[in-house]
């Protein structure tokens, strides 16, 4: 492996250190007096390889590298426009980084915010429900 491969390895190592575990803010979504901002985490993995040799008298080298990564929401920041200062900021962390579970968690928070703005929840007493079921 010649110097070019060494250089690529250095570049990849630097890329990995730059991107791995980076957390980034997603696009803000407004709901009335609240703003939800998802936080995403980037996890990048890199790999590289090189080759040399070839026919006599001919220089032959081969270089390859790969870059793969995952992006998943890890938390959501909720800002209340009407509440000044730190009290108006809430951060909800997701328990795992599995995308499906995180999305469910994110949607739950968003839905609760929607519900809070669309009116009170309806309670139906067990007695009333029983009468309906026996109508």
């Amino acid at each position: 492996m010649d110097d070019s491969n060494a250089t690529i390895s250095e570049v990849l190592a630097n890329l990995q250190s730059i991107f791995s575990g980076v957390e980034s803010l997603g696009k803000a979504v407004e709901f009335g007096d609240k703003v939800a901002i998802p936080i995403y985490q980037f996890n990048f993995g890199t790999g590289g390889g090189g080759g040399g040799g070839g026919r006599e008298g001919q220089k032959s080298t081969g270089v390859g590298f790969g870059l793969a990564g995952t992006i998943g929401p890890v938390a959501v920041i909720i800002l209340s426009k009407d509440t000044p200062g730190a009290q108006g900021i809430q951060i909800h962390e997701f328990k795992t980084n599995k995308v499906g579970e995180a999305l469910a968690e994110l949607m739950l928070h968003l839905w609760e915010m929607i519900e809070s703005q669309m009116g009170k929840r309806q309670k139906l007493s067990p007695e009333k429900k029983e009468k309906l079921m026996n109508i």
Partner: protein, 184 residues
């Protein structure tokens, strides 16, 4: 047939028509619930429990409970319809007063649970109608990433018809309750 029986017959025939219209109305609203259940099944797995919970928290009942209530209501209307026909038969055949009284008593018995639960059902149907009316605003607040534009448009356009079905059934329940009180 004396004038009292004539009046009773007119009232009971009106009740019969109301029962028939109400039965159709129950079926129509039941179809809306089936459509809702099917639409929820088509949603992404992460959205399903949220939508189900939204219905329950805003109307007090889950979709399967709405389905069970409407099926029960349909059966009750069938039973009342049969009892009403027996009263009409007794009045038409100019049977003795005992036959008319017996069929009327049977109608009173079979319609008891509906008269008892009608006010709650009327209240619940109005709650449901208001919930459906508010759904377009709620659907518009769902981020684009979670709901395609065509699905959003289809959902919103289907809401007015569902509100009408809920309110139509509510009005027929009110009418049925009034007519039952007059004849039993």
């Amino acid at each position: 047939m004396d004038s009292q029986n004539m009046q009773q017959k007119e009232e009971i025939e009106s009740l019969l028509k109301t029962c028939e219209t109400a039965r159709d109305s129950v079926d129509a609203f039941l179809r809306s619930i089936h459509d809702f259940i099917a639409a929820v099944e088509e949603l992404p797995a992460v959205a399903r429990p949220l939508v189900r919970r939204d219905l329950e928290s805003n109307t007090g009942m889950r979709a399967d409970e709405w389905k069970a209530f409407l099926e029960r209501l349909g059966e009750r209307y069938d039973a009342i319809h049969d009892a009403v026909q027996r009263v009409i038969g007794a009045l038409t055949n100019e049977g003795d007063n005992a036959e008319v009284a017996a069929s009327t008593a049977a109608l009173k018995e079979v319609s008891g649970p509906l008269k008892e639960g009608a006010d709650i059902a009327i209240e619940e149907l109005e709650t449901m109608a208001r919930y459906i009316e508010g759904l377009p605003d709620k659907i518009n607040m769902v981020p684009k990433a979670f709901l395609k534009a065509e699905d959003r448009g289809e959902l919103i356009s289907s809401m007015p018809g569902r509100v009408e079905r809920a309110r139509a059934l509510k009005q027929l329940l009110e009418k049925t309750k009034g007519e039952l009180s007059a004849v039993t």
